[in-house]
Amino acid sequence: MVDTLFIGLSLGSILLLVALGLTITYGAMGVINMAHGEMVMIGAYTTVLSGIYLGANLLVAMPIAFVISAGLGWAIEKVLVRRLYGRLIDTLLATWGVALVLQQAVRLEFGLSFLGIHVEGLGPGLQNVDVPDFLRGTITILGTEVNGYRAFIILVTVVMTAVTWLIMNRTPIGMQVRAVMRNRSMAAACGIDVARVNALTFAYGSGLAGIAGVMMSGFKTVFPDMGAPMVVDGFMVVVVGGVGSLLGAVAASGLLGEINGLVAAVTNDILARAVVFGTVIVVIVLMPRGLFSFKGR
């Protein structure tokens, strides 16, 4: 039973890892960021490339990936997203376009493959990342052997959630972000630099996705299309949890992860996935604003 619950928890932590950044960008900024999955992909490729060219392991890759994807997120906000605030559907289409561009950039090795240059670690193929020795194999929790790497992901997710909560609730910039979330024009009227807050929020959300990518690269295949299915799961969590609610994202990912794990243990994975989507539909029908939400805007 412990192992089943552990797997549920692990599934939940993976959902949360991806959804954390989305909660912030979607919640705070009203941007449906379809390129979020590609930020995860960029984080994963950062791990691959830093492993090949810097000899860095997974842990070293985490700050690198955070900086790279946050920088990329910041650039996307400055160039594209800031022109689209208040136009929800347009942000969806525009960021989807960005997602396609990023996928192809990796697949075509930033266009170098047209010139016959091959960059090791990029291209359309599958990549793999070496996991450091101490994260391989199993560890024992409550007398049950569990996957050590999954335990590590849970730990990272807890730390990142805590850090995000602290930033949002205990720092001046966090207060500004929350003010912008509640009412953009009122926040601006109070002297908050909304454009700056937006850019930083988007960069931070993208950075979180980058770290999620590092964690994914350790046990999933790394390839250019890997982000697309993750963004779907991410939005699922955000919608169930309540837009913009950190607590909601934690609760929703825990709930969906455990449902998935338990149903899969009793029946099979295919049915489990159907039950998860069923739960999402029920929640949305009964509580259109999600499990935790506030009145705003």
């Binding site: 359309p124 793999n128 999954r150 295919i270």
Partner: protein, 419 residues
Amino acid sequence: MKLNRREFFKNTALAGAGMIAAPAVLGSSAAAAEEIPVGVLFSHTGGLSIIEKSLNDATLMAIAEINEKGGINGRKIKPIIEDGASDPKTFNEKASKLVVRDRVVSAFACYTSASRKAVLPVFEKRNNLLFYPTYYEGFECSKNVVYTGSTPNQQLSVFIPWIINTLGKKKFFIVGSNYIYPREMAKVCKILIEKNGGEWVADEYLELGHSEWGSMVNKIKSSGCDVVLSNVVGDSVVAFYREFKNQGLSHDKLPICASVTSEVEIAAMGAEYAAGSYTSFPYFQAIDSDRNKSFVERYRAYVKDPKAVTHHAMESAYFQVYLFAQAAAKAGDKLTPETIRAAVLGQEFDAPNGHVKVDAENQHTYLTPRIAQWQADGQGKIVQQLDAPIRPLPYVAYGETETGLYCKASGLDSTKLKL
């Protein structure tokens, strides 16, 4: 000059006749220049492009080799290359284009069963000929297809008895991706397991492309099985082997025996995760013969990648072009899909994997079953192989035997088929 109506018609008719005649003259002289149009249709984009690109390359390499040696009866093969984009509907459209507009005499195409089923109506309706290189689930008997990949019996009929008798493993956990190929393979597995005195404890599936294996591996752990038979396909394979090892399972005690895991997936997952597990295929890169070594070398030079791996489906994609060339040479000057089809029956060739032969009854290919154990360097070590190729049986899941064929030259004998 004043044109009257009659003269106007006479002139235009002449001009028209000239215009029609001109390309015909050009055409016949071009035909004397002897190019034989063939279609090459694999995915260059989309999720399947990684593997299908290698089939495309192997096909083109074989065509280049044949052309270098002077072509077929002095005529060069002209490949017309199309991109299926990993989408069955696109495959269908491109196949129509190749058959109807380009008038190819044969096509080398498709990796997945989904794409093959999508192009099949085109080839059957227009009575053209498709060379299909992938191992597949069987249950097909089309006179418009030459199947050069292995059938379920060529992958499993040696593998399962070997697992039970040589490895001494009797309790099977069958796992696969949720679509037709793994499900048909599981049927054949069960027949063979029961026939050889083993048992199966579970038969489980995961969505195609799904890479979350936590629950499934946990189930495998608690199922009490002593061998895992995997029909998992695509990039799911990578996540599966990794999760397997990271939950503390080892191939020494509980080996994964796979029907699909090839050199490509091993390279993608990192060889240490698969070291000690087994796969059954007629071809492995590690086959120790001069012909194969030369093939691997030529392929690496052709794709300009010194680390490129070769695998079963791409080897079939390579040798089937030679089977086509031999058939076309035998068919002589009047090259049509029908004459090539008639000539390809019974064609034999020394392929990198060994001697292959197209069965004159069911148009599938005689291949030699092999079992390899994966090593830490990402290559298979061949632990078992038959001396001679065995007959392909596409309907083995439904009781077909070597002496009691369901799929014959006359067509499918559906009276024997009990579903």
